[in-house]
Amino acid sequence: MDGVHDMGGMDGFGKVESEPNEPVFHQRWEGRVLAISRAISALRLWTIDMSRYGIELLSPPVYLASSYYERWFLRNVRLLTERGLIETDEMAAGHALRPGKGLDRDKFTLADVERVTRRGSYGRPGPAPARFKVGDRVRAKNIHPKTHTRLPRYARGHVGIVERLHGAHVFPDSVVAGKGEDPQWLYTVRFDAQELWGADADPTVRVSIEAFEPYLEHV
């Protein structure tokens, strides 16, 4: 979706402010939100892509006005509520009003922690031979899917060079659309800044995206 989360190239957000000796969490609740997010992801009710889409679905004013972990919290409540794991009156009451729903997975316990603090594997066997090879000139398609996609707006319609082929990976667009993992070849595609941003852009800058094969076409 052409959402406010797709921020590459927007102006007006100001300077990047780095905080010296920044704590891992600024408030205790932020750590709890992170831990809850990791734990409920292990219940396998949704995937990482559905979880990202849950944040993209926040309305633009809410997205922009919320802090990072506030967005995570809102996403968690939304996904848990949609799937009937918690209910709105329970959030208002501050405790469970009904027994838990039966799940395929057991309760998330200490023994599961290591598994969620290491990133998973998204590589899968390829669907067919890769269409592009390193060095090919490709265009990022001018597409505007209504649901989740990982093709950023700023790259759409622009021509770049295939720099790497990573193998086939789970395709986020299909996962969120309910079409399963639908593995697709994943490429690093490099663009000149002047191709993306026009003749006034810095000629020494190049930008790459990680592009799934369905995002690309031969030039």
């Binding site: 590459g8 992170l34 831990a35 990072y68 838990g100 599961d112 190049r206």
Partner: protein
């Protein structure tokens, strides 16, 4: 955003977010979906165990051991997982090396993708709207916000983490570090220099 401080209960100075998050955690525990001790452990791991010191060891090794450097650039997940002091890391990690010709910088414009296995959780600025919006369009200006000025002739290469691949920048080894041990070299490697918004410390800064 600053925390919103409201007095919901007499004598309570908990923020509204603290209360709402407590409510959610309480419900999840009461319903039997998660165990409190497991949540505590996740927080503890990110606060004490999983952080940029891991990446710093990887970079210091790459600076010291040419064979490791080659395997790191070839397949970073595999290379890093061979390091006893690190242990197995997740797949799809890609190491990109700075040279006098090219400076690498990593961003996630769409959300906050970051090589957590080797750098821990991302700092606030990495997840911020200014960084996400500007890194792909005016990286030199972003670097200037960090006090980093590169020669005008150095190419800048920005990696937007739009899939599950994760990028670790291997900065250039600082001068005057001949004969340094990996442990000494690791003290020069900052988090920001492994994202590409900083440069390693100079030997004089850690002496």
């Amino acid at each position: 955003m600053a925390a919103h401080h409201h007095d919901h209960q007499e004598g309570s100075n908990l923020s509204e977010m603290e209360l709402r998050v407590r409510a959610l955690e309480t419900i999840l525990v009461e319903k039997g979906y998660v165990e409190t001790a497991a949540l505590d452990r996740i927080v503890e791991l990110y606060e004490t165990k999983i952080g940029p010191h891991i990446g710093a060891q990887v970079v210091a090794k790459a600076w010291s051991d040419p064979a490791f450097r080659r395997s790191l650039l070839e397949d970073a997940s595999k290379a890093v997982s061979t390091l006893a002091q690190v242990g197995r890391v997740g797949e799809h990690l890609v190491a990109v090396e700075n040279t006098p010709q090219v400076h690498n910088m990593v961003v996630c414009t769409l959300c906050s993708c970051y090589p957590t296995d080797v750098l821990g959780l991302p700092p606030l600025w990495y997840k911020s709207f200014p960084y996400r919006s500007r890194a792909v369009k005016e990286p030199r200006a972003v670097l200037a916000d960090f006090g980093v000025v590169l020669p005008a002739t150095t190419d800048i290469r920005v990696w937007d983490s739009t899939a599950e691949t994760r990028f670790l920048v291997v900065p250039m080894r600082p001068a005057e570090t001949d004969g340094w041990s990996e442990a000494q070299l690791a003290t020069l490697v900052t988090r920001d220099c492994m994202i590409g918004t900083g440069l390693p410390k100079k030997p004089s800064e850690v002496a």
